[in-house]
Symmetry: C2
Subunit: 355 residues, 2 copies
Amino acid sequence: MSANSTLRAHYPWTKTPLVASAPMLNIATAPLSISVSEAGGLGFLAGGYDVSGLESKLEQAVQLIKQSTFRTRQVYASTGILPIGVGFLNWGADLTKSIAAIEKYRPCAVLFFGPNSIPDDLPWAEQVRAVTHGKTKIWVQVGTVAEAVAVAEALDPDVLVVQGSDAGGHGLARSASIITLVPEVKDALARRNVKAGIPLLAAGGIVDGRGMAASLALGASGAVMGTRFLASSEAAIASGYQAEVPRASDGGISTVRSTVYDRVRGILSWPARYDGRGIINRSYIDAVNGGMSDEENRALYQEELKKGDAGWGPNARLTTYAGTGVGLVDKKLPAAEVVANVIQEAKDTLQGLRI
Amino acid sequence: MSANSTLRAHYPWTKTPLVASAPMLNIATAPLSISVSEAGGLGFLAGGYDVSGLESKLEQAVQLIKQSTFRTRQVYASTGILPIGVGFLNWGADLTKSIAAIEKYRPCAVLFFGPNSIPDDLPWAEQVRAVTHGKTKIWVQVGTVAEAVAVAEALDPDVLVVQGSDAGGHGLARSASIITLVPEVKDALARRNVKAGIPLLAAGGIVDGRGMAASLALGASGAVMGTRFLASSEAAIASGYQAEVPRASDGGISTVRSTVYDRVRGILSWPARYDGRGIINRSYIDAVNGGMSDEENRALYQEELKKGDAGWGPNARLTTYAGTGVGLVDKKLPAAEVVANVIQEAKDTLQGLRI
């Protein structure tokens, strides 16, 4: 079965190419993920590293789906499977609580990211499969060829999300972009004959149909998009943060990969191979150019929080994770329009490329 | 006129999409550049920052072209224009000597890269245009949207080479990959109505037809490729260096951006915004993980040079510039096969993407 057929078999309500919304921590809640799935994409809810609120988020999703009039309600009514996924940060998420939530709410996919080591994901994969009898598909986000091969060999994943260096928020501190990473992962799996036909989704820098068309050319079957959905109507995001997305441009120099945006918030438990890409602001400039201590930077961050929306901006301090594609986002849109536009523009782009 | 038509008008012997070989310092000499053009691409000769040997390199090119039986001889005989380009590192190259060589040998293109500031390129553009009456087209390599706009406004370039973070050798220390950079450059020029139809060529991570097809989807009209041509039969490269290209894989982690690979060779004059991506070796590990001084590292480099081909490798010290696409290169090929393969695979890739 082709990778596209596999995705259609797992998620029959989705359109081709597959647009998935990333499980952005605190931002990807039920309204965003359901709007994406309702539009024929696959929305991910953020489970994050603290899953104490996960059941209530999933309960909210169920209530919204019951009010829906279209795809997600039909899928849920006929299958009992929630047509949204849940993303976990495996270095921190509690396995027992997470599995209980998955058993109760039966999401169509889970996305694993950031384990301390790949074998740590093994009980996750086994227990997820057990509690929903394989209905919840296992997606794993990887950032190198070595990681892709190791995950393919150890976890029997259903989908690999191949994340490149342009991605906003957390990712490997050092990695290639999807330009070389997606084809090399595809070739490496084929050469080893390990999960050779597995659907690959590209992540990192895809914000429109051109990036989607490029991802397909590279060998992916779709894309996981974060930054574009920061500026969606349904994102659970402060207005000050959201306004930064259409404001910022030239993301290669207006954003930077750093650990400082976690350190100022006291988030210190990510495995050392990760950092996060965010829009450059005073927290970064003071730390990197000014040599400010984490202690002082963190105290200033706490003060900045009191400013509310004025705390975000190039001369402010609040963390503003976004990818290098930030300059390609010019306005806020309903999530359904993002999904429809990306699919249509990808088709038009490929249609126009008769060489 | 479309960007593709513009390129065909300037370089009528070239095929679509355009494959250009990068002017890799010391490596891109007459045999490589002519083989690329002979195959329907556009080969660039390295002019570099020290142009004292440029006239003899161009003279060698003329002699090779006169011996050719196909494209390059026909073009040269009928137009008097050399069907190869010359790349300059403008922070170091002598303007007067360079212009004299261009006037005498009339290459079809020059590629400017790395000026101390963009206005420094202005006399270059003016004098190149004057001495060959516009026959030598002006290509400029940029790494940010801001740079692309400034170059478009100041220099009236004929082609922009948009270089992303995956590129091997020198490039901006911080930049996006071509995934977001190419479309944002295209949009920014269109929005300002400055050189809106100019051909863009993608550079950084393109080693095969999938990367080429992705570049076209992103809005480029072709690609400038370096790493793939390191492993070409015609490259003027030490066997030890060349063998590293098919050996290395997983370029996001086996290569790194750093200034150390210049510092160990005593090359200290690149503008501060640049560094270079190379395969990780002892020079880097000792400097970055071991805190070795540049003085000691440089002395060890000098010793390593005596080892010849054994001086290259992950446990050796000699600089091995290569991009993140290094893992997609599995064997040495004649340059003509590289050109033909990339064009054919790009066509096949796009043909297969009927969505």
